[in-house]
Every structure is written in structure tokens, then in C-alpha cells.
């Protein structure tokens, strides 16, 4: 029952990260739940073939992101943009850019939903505190490309999530 044990171990360790991934990709509550269940089912199935090819963390995030890609392709979501395009869309004087703490997460999720792969994956993994090497291994981008994207993600986040007076430091 190695497959079952691996699954339970992965869920114990990465369950919250998977739930955050589903929440980032799907705004609708039912679709979010469906995606999370699809990810977990794919994960359970995948462990039948897991023999330590990569770290557990890389395996879990790859399964999760690949399942999310498949769902997004099925839904043919339109109007996705790159990190650069998203930065251009945000005018510096955008009144919505000054946000309260309660809205930061919602805006982060909205940004991720608008991004094309693999920019959405890089931002999500960056927020999950994965380093550039781990992100490169999960996404398949080169370490240099990941570093460039992380730099853009940081710029984008600090421009788009400026805090309201009295909440300085949140996005600094």
C-alpha cells in the first residue's frame, strides 16, 4: 500500500498548498472544489508510478500544476496575459491598487487567474515560498528564466498591492 501511504503523507504535508492552488485558479466555489478533488485524485493515481524520480515536493507540485493546466485548457479561458502585459494593465494611479489587507489575497488570486502559464505557476510557487531552483524543476523553465520572472513578479506585486495608509510594509 505504498501508493496510499505516499498519498496520505503528501496530503498531510502539502494539503493546504494544494487548496491554495485551487483557490488561486478557480474563483467559483464548486469549480475550486472540483479542481482540488481532481488534483488529489491525480496525485493518488500518480503515486503508483512514483519511485523517487524527484523530490516529493516537486512531484506533488508538478501533478497539481499539470492537472490545473489540463482543466484550464478544457475551459479554454480567454484573455490571459503575461507578467509584462499584466504590469502594463496596471496604471500607477489605479485606485484599486491601494488595497486593504482583506483584499490583498483576493487581488493576488485575481492576478494569478489572469496570467498565462507558466507565469501563473511561477507566481503561485513564489508565493508558496519555493526557491528558483525548485520552481525551475517544477515548471521546466531554466533557472535564469525563473529568476527573471521572479524579479518581475516582485515588481508587479509591489506596484499592484501598495498598501493603504497605516498598512505600510505588507507588500514592501
Amino acid at each position: 500500500m505504498a501508493q496510499d501511504e505516499l498519498f496520505l503523507g503528501a496530503i498531510a504535508e502539502f494539503g493546504p498548498a494544494l487548496a491554495r492552488l485551487a483557490a488561486a485558479y478557480e474563483a467559483d466555489w464548486d469549480q475550486r472544489r472540483d479542481l482540488l478533488q481532481d488534483v488529489k485524485l491525480a496525485l493518488w493515481r500518480s503515486f503508483a508510478g512514483y519511485a523517487g524520480q524527484c523530490s516529493m515536493r516537486t512531484w506533488v507540485f508538478r501533478v497539481a500544476h499539470n492537472t490545473a493546466i489540463s482543466t484550464r485548457l478544457r475551459r479554454r479561458k480567454l484573455g490571459l496575459v503575461s507578467l509584462d502585459e499584466l504590469a502594463d494593465l496596471a496604471a500607477a494611479d489605479d485606485p484599486e491598487a491601494t488595497v486593504g489587507n482583506a483584499h490583498v489575497l483576493a487581488r493576488l488570486q485575481a492576478m494569478i487567474r489572469r496570467l498565462k502559464p507558466p507565469d501563473d505557476q511561477v507566481m503561485l510557487l513564489y508565493l508558496e515560498d519555493q526557491d528558483a531552483a525548485a520552481i525551475a524543476e517544477i515548471t521546466g523553465l531554466s533557472a535564469g528564466a525563473v529568476a527573471t520572472r521572479i524579479h518581475r513578479v516582485k515588481q508587479l506585486l509591489s506596484n499592484r498591492l501598495r498598501q493603504a495608509p497605516g498598512q505600510q510594509g505588507e507588500a514592501a
Binding site: 498519498f7 493546504p16 483557490a23 478533488q37 512531484w59 485548457l73 507558466p118 505557476q121 513564489y126 508565493l127
Partner: protein, 193 residues
Amino acid sequence: MKDLKTAWKAQQVEVNAMTSLVEVRARAAEVEAGVRRRNLALYVYSAASILVSAWLIARGAFPAMRYPMVLMVAAHLMVLWQINRRIAARRLPADLGARPAIDFHREQLERQAHGLSRAWLWYMLPFLVPFVWELGIMLHRIQTGEAPPEAPRLLAVFVVTGVLFWTAVLLAFSRAALKARLEIERLSALQAN
């Protein structure tokens, strides 16, 4: 930025969805049941299509169109089989964790682009052959005076409708295939950097 990551990780999300093996197996069974239901619907549609056409042919309705009608039924069945095959191939592979996201994404797009760019072969051609055959029979009957007086007008309507419909289908498939190809190129360029 560290605070932002902390806030991200501290967000309230539903983490308790499907955490036990019983629930996972139930979900797997649910997915399989969905596949069986879809297959059943395709089989019922195919059977109904065959029965109606066989009944029309047997009772001698439209005798001149007998063979194109048989071909039209075969076209329906072939397209259904192709759709079923392509949906089955769309199921997530078991080795999802072995492939980086960008490789998996490109594979999915390549499969999609391949199916779309060959749609004229597997989706359009099976219907077009009997359709053109039927039009040919109608034209022949008009020329030999066997057709009723309203036949030329009906033929014109058929031709115009057919051309418009199939052109729209071809354009839709081609546009979707082109978009997939452009996305593949974008991903390849990203990976090459």
C-alpha cells in the same frame, strides 16, 4: 514581500476536501461512472441513428438516396468513434509528476492542435462524401426531369447552407489549431531562454 507570502500561506482555504482514501476511491469511481455514462449515451445515439435509417431504407422511403443515407449513418458512427477516442485520450496520464509543467502543457497543446488541424479529415470528410453524393443525385434528377418543380430551389438552399456551414466549421477548427500552434511556439521560446 515576506509578509505577503505569510499572508498568502495564512489564507483561509478548504483543506479538508477529500483527505481520506475512501473519499479518493469514491471520486475515482465517480469519474469512471461518468465515462461509462458518456459511452452509454454515445451507444444509444448510435443505435437510434442506425435504427431510424434502417427503418427509412427498409420501408422504401427516398429509394434514390439509399446508399448516401447508409454512408451518412456510417459517417455519424465514425465521427462518434473519433470523438470518443479523443475524449478518452484526454484523460490525465498517470505520470503527471514525472513531467515538468511546460512539457506537459506543450504535449496537451500539440495533441489538441493535431486533432484540430486534421478535423477536415476525421470530422468533415465523412459527412461531406454522402452530402455531395446526395446533391449529385438531386442534380441528376433535376436534369432528367424526374424531380418535382421545387427541387432546383431546394438544391440551391442545400448547396448554400452546406457551403456556409462547412466553411464556418473549417474556419473555427483552423483558428483554434492556429491558436494552439502559436501557444506551442510561445512555450518553446520560453523554454529555450
